[in-house]
Structure formats: structure tokens, C-alpha cells
């Protein structure tokens, strides 16, 4: 019971932060819906552990806790993948900016033009 109360309080705190960030336009509506849905499901799983166990049984997993563990692993792996992809893009964007400055400062006036006569 104590675990459920602490977990729910934590979830309420997290959801309030998400709502605040959404109101401040720091996150988009899609991201807002994702997170709200995620924490709503987490709260539902905490409040009705029997339901989680039933879903686990349907999926052929013994316990509800195991289902929660496997799901978290999949979610963390997915989030990590998205972060890696985004970081890779940011790295490439930084390189593009650095290259643009290098070419421009080196006297090439239109670094993005395909026409070789556009240089300085």
C-alpha cells in the first residue's frame, strides 16, 4: 500500500511537470500525449496489479512484475535508439555549420551552390 501511495505521488509530480512544460510550449502536443499516456498506464498498473498479471498471463508471461520489467526494457531501448539517432543528426548539423563557416571564411562565397563558378 505504501509503495502504491509513494509511486502515485511521484507520478502526479511528473505529470504536473509534463503539463507545465506543455503549457509553456516547451514540448509539442505529440510528445505531451505520449508521456501522459505512458504515465497513465504506469499509474493504472500500480493501482490494479491484478490486471497487469492478467495481461501478463494472456501474453504468456508469468507475473505482472515481469511484464512491467520487460516493457520498461523495450521502452528504454527505444528511447536510447531515438536519442542516438538525434545525436547523430545534431553532430552532422554541427559539422555542416563548421564546414559552411570554413568555406565561407576561406573565400568561397556560396558554399551551398553546386555551381563551381559561384566561388569567390
Amino acid at each position: 500500500m505504501l509503495f502504491q501511495i509513494i509511486s502515485l505521488l511521484l507520478i502526479i509530480l511528473i505529470v504536473s511537470r509534463i503539463v507545465l512544460r506543455f503549457v509553456r510550449h516547451e514540448i509539442g502536443s505529440r510528445e505531451f500525449i505520449y508521456w501522459i499516456l505512458f504515465w497513465f498506464l504506469a499509474a493504472a498498473a500500480i493501482l490494479t496489479p491484478d490486471a497487469l498479471t492478467r495481461i501478463a498471463n494472456i501474453l504468456g508471461i508469468g507475473r505482472g512484475a515481469d511484464l512491467a520489467f520487460y516493457s520498461s526494457f523495450v521502452i528504454v531501448a527505444y528511447v536510447l535508439f531515438r536519442i542516438v539517432v538525434r545525436m547523430d543528426r545534431i553532430e552532422r548539423d554541427i559539422t555542416k555549420i563548421v564546414r559552411h563557416i570554413a568555406l565561407h571564411e576561406g573565400g568561397i562565397q556560396n558554399p551551398n551552390s553546386k555551381n563551381q563558378n559561384d566561388n569567390g
Binding site: 552532422r92 559539422t95 563548421v98 564546414r99 559552411h100 570554413a102 568555406l103 551551398n112 563551381q116 559561384d118
Partner: protein, 243 residues
């Protein structure tokens, strides 16, 4: 026919002047891309009459090479030779490496350190292993086998580079607007393999010629270490999977 040498350099103030002196007489112009060095690389290069482009921060071997190649194309190069700044290559061999391109029918030439006619000095067993691992990885990812896929001493025709590099794709703000970027996005040492993969994908003809390689303690210390090698391999795999 305008021949331009492109030299990516990161903290190479000790060797860059010697490399540029060696290139003199073999190319109309030498371009040095100072990849965020904190030593006098750019100054030493300018003293030797090179055209210098400076990356504000270090972006890696592939990124510097690409900046130099784009600059060379913009400056009207017909043949572009890439050579390392640490002095491991013999600039006098530029005439040999561009020869197949001048004859025609070839788009890209790779300087091969492992041919029977190649001269090798000071190559460690570990370095050989790294290069072999790079060859195997390139074969696994792109289905082509060359005995030296990691060589930095290469020559390209202008047309070949225009195809594989897709100049002008910088600053495409929306990925939706331009759904397919060139596959050549490598910023690190994986550039060497990716350029081969991209060239083969576009049906270009690649040949190899034997070159001389002279490893010194300096160039060995500057080259790929184990962790950089692993990182390079992981990046190659990740890019290939994400395509």
C-alpha cells in the same frame, strides 16, 4: 587539367610543411583543412603557400576531408588527390596515383599499402590487423573487397566526387523537403569505407596502385587506436542499419 591536393590536418604542425613541399610540382594547388588544431598547423601550411580552410572545432577526418573536397571542386579541380598530413605517404607518387585517371575509364584510385610492389616501412602488426579488420568490415557492409580500404592516399575525378558527395546539400533545414541525403555522411575514419561503398553503389570504377608507406613513431601515435577503431566500426554499422 587542374590537379588539387587535399590534406586534412589536425595538430600536424611538425609534418605539414614537409608534406606540402613534397606536393609542390605535382599539383597546381594544395588545400589544407585545419580541423580545429590548437597548434600552428594553419600557419605552417600558409607559409608553404597552401590554401587553408579552418574548422572552428574538431569534426573528424571524414568531415575535414569533405570540406577540402568541396573546396577543391569549387575551385575548379579536375582531379583531386587526398593525402595524409602526418608524412606517411610519399607525395612524389602523386603522379602515379593520378595516372589511371588521366588514361580514362577509371573514376577513383586507391593507394594500396599491401600490394607486392608496395614499399612498407615501420608498419606494426597491430596496424596491419586494424586495416584488415577495416577491409573485412567494408566487404561485409558493401560487398566489395579491396586489400587497402583504409588508405588515405587516393585520387578521384571531379565527376566521381560530384556523384558521391552531392555538393550543395549543406543546410537543408527540413529532412522532409529533401528526403534522401547522400549516404556519405561519415565524419570520422569511417569516411574511407563509406566513400568506397557509395562509389560502388553509383557504378563508379575503382582501381588500386601500389604505394610507399613510411610509418614513424609520430605517424603511428597519430593513427587509429583500438578504441577509435571500434568506434569507427560501430558508426559504420549504425549508419548502414539506419539507411
Amino acid at each position: 587539367m587542374t590537379i588539387v591536393v587535399v590534406i586534412p590536418a589536425f595538430n600536424e604542425s611538425r609534418t605539414i610543411a614537409g608534406v606540402l613541399q613534397g606536393c609542390r610540382g605535382h599539383a597546381q594547388e594544395s588545400i589544407v583543412v585545419d580541423d580545429g588544431s590548437w597548434d600552428d598547423t594553419a600557419l605552417r601550411a600558409r607559409e608553404q603557400g597552401a590554401v587553408v580552410f579552418m574548422h572552428l572545432i574538431n569534426r573528424g577526418y571524414g568531415a575535414a576531408l569533405r570540406t577540402g573536397i568541396e573546396a577543391a571542386l569549387k575551385r575548379g579541380a579536375d582531379i583531386i588527390v587526398t593525402i595524409d598530413a602526418d608524412g606517411q605517404h610519399e607525395p612524389a607518387e602523386i603522379k602515379n596515383i593520378i595516372e589511371p585517371l588521366k588514361r580514362g575509364g577509371v573514376d577513383m584510385v586507391i593507394g594500396n599499402r599491401f600490394s607486392a610492389q608496395s614499399t612498407r616501412e615501420g608498419m606494426s602488426v597491430l596496424r596491419k590487423l586494424f586495416i584488415t579488420a577495416g577491409n573485412i568490415l567494408t566487404w561485409m557492409l558493401y560487398g566489395v573487397w579491396f586489400s587497402d580500404t583504409q588508405s588515405g592516399f587516393r585520387a578521384y575525378t571531379r565527376q566521381a566526387l560530384e556523384k558521391v558527395i552531392d555538393v550543395g546539400q549543406n543546410f537543408r533545414v527540413s529532412p522532409r523537403e529533401f528526403p534522401r541525403e547522400s549516404a556519405l555522411q561519415a565524419e570520422g575514419m569511417e569516411f574511407s569505407s563509406e566513400v568506397i561503398g557509395e562509389a560502388m553503389r553509383r557504378g563508379l570504377t575503382i582501381t588500386t596502385i601500389p604505394i610507399t608507406i613510411r610509418y614513424t613513431n609520430y605517424s603511428l601515435a597519430k593513427g587509429q587506436n583500438f578504441f577509435e577503431g571500434v568506434r569507427t566500426a560501430l558508426r559504420l554499422f549504425a549508419r548502414r542499419l539506419l539507411r
